[in-house]
């Protein structure tokens, strides 16, 4: 199953952050997608819901509004969450009602949960987006803008307050304020100096 270019770009950002040469997160998504598609013929795609301290991001393979319109069932994969750090939720979607019942039953057994504890059809309706509400790249820009302001003498906390104030004055949001902060930077780098 194809990975949309917007998702590929976000996953590339994350793969870079992993800094492990042998791991490509897009490949892991492709393998999971391939395995689910083999088990569920009406599988339509998946979403990755990421909860970060700076905001929530939803990455998705669903970039076709016609496919999204035909989705009738969902399954939240019961992965044991990490005790600390960002929260990750994987949601699978299919276009045939009941398509995930057998998979959900097995995954519930495998993780020692009851079927009621597995998120079957809990992620339908308004929560399905063909395009993410907040992209990872926008959060990346916000963090870069915080870095620019830290480099100008702010602490990270002050930088965030500065961005919020800039957004409030412009009647926009953090992301737009970040772009305003990053825009005037000179396009050509000079000799790198860590001092």
């Amino acid at each position: 199953m194809r990975i949309p270019s917007a998702l590929a770009a976000d996953l590339a950002l994350l793969t870079d952050a992993l800094d492990v040469g042998t791991v490509d997160i897009a490949s892991t998504v492709s393998l999971l997608t391939s395995d689910v598609a083999a088990a569920v013929s009406s599988y339509a795609g998946l979403s990755l819901r990421l909860s970060l301290s700076s905001g929530d991001v939803e990455l998705t393979t669903l970039d076709d509004v016609d496919v999204v319109a035909r989705i009738l069932t969902s399954l939240r994969v019961p992965v044991t969450p990490a005790t600390t750090g960002p929260s990750v939720v994987i949601v699978l979607y299919a276009t045939r009602l009941g398509a995930f019942v057998d998979v959900a039953a097995d995954l519930a057994w495998l993780t020692d949960r009851t079927l009621g504890d597995v998120g079957l059809d809990t992620d339908l309706g308004a929560r399905i987006h063909a395009h993410p509400v907040t992209s990872l790249r926008s959060l990346s820009s916000v963090d870069q803008a915080i870095g620019v302001l830290v480099g100008r003498g702010h602490t990270a906390e002050e930088a965030l307050v500065e961005l919020e104030a800039l957004a409030a004055r412009a009647g926009s949001d953090r992301y737009a304020a970040a772009l305003v902060t990053l825009a005037p930077l000179p396009p050509t780098g000079v000799v790198y100096d860590t001092e």
Binding site: L31, V103, G147, V150
Partner: protein
Amino acid sequence: MTGTDPPGAVPGAMGPLDPDRDASDTADLQESLRELAALVTGSLGLQDVLQHVATFAVRAIPGADGAGVTLLSAERGGGQVLAASHPFVAEIDEIQYATLNEGPCITAALERRTVRSGSLGGEKMWPRFGPRVGRLGVHSALSLPLLLAERAVGAINVYSREKDAFDDRAAELGELFAAPAAVAVHNAQILAQAQELTAQLQSALSSRPIIDQAIGILRGRNGGSADEAFGKLRAISQADHVKLVDVAQHIVDEAVRRARARHAQS
């Protein structure tokens, strides 16, 4: 013979059906299927599931001396031997996949059908694999594809030191065992993939903000694009043999320290 006989299979291996043996075999199969169902109730990982499937297969299939489970995936580069009930099974499957790329499991998975041989030493279908395994004292093989609706996801490989060990009844019982095993193995694989993806995302998401802040600091100092700044971070990381996120953290910490020093002075 069932409709699953391969070229080179031993015809007529099935003798008259002994009612006692049939009842015993069926009881063994039912017990193995019960265990197969029960094994998913204990928070097991993929490797545990595969190991249990291999062990239960030996019990479910009459004549078996050992069994292994292989998962197949083009994306993962062909067959992966992931579980074996006995060391000799792992040795044989290593010959099949890593050394020769030839043997009953490969045939079973490619052709999506049960394959068996009762005389591996003289087996024409696998002219390199058969004699080599025969010299190890293993003479019979039964390979059962793990079939989902549209693809073979792997295979169970069953071996015996006896000649003509697997008859039609053994193949039939093996197929009855393989059908639910395929679903259990595949769903365990889906869960394992999801867990791996979650771990990768959590690790990356923990590092990304600090890397982006360091990129912003470098861009603020030197100009250039985010890609160029990231390239500089990576170059430092590689030159100093320090993890990228640690380089980024150092740059951010240093900038914050200077900011606090300025505040203290003013």
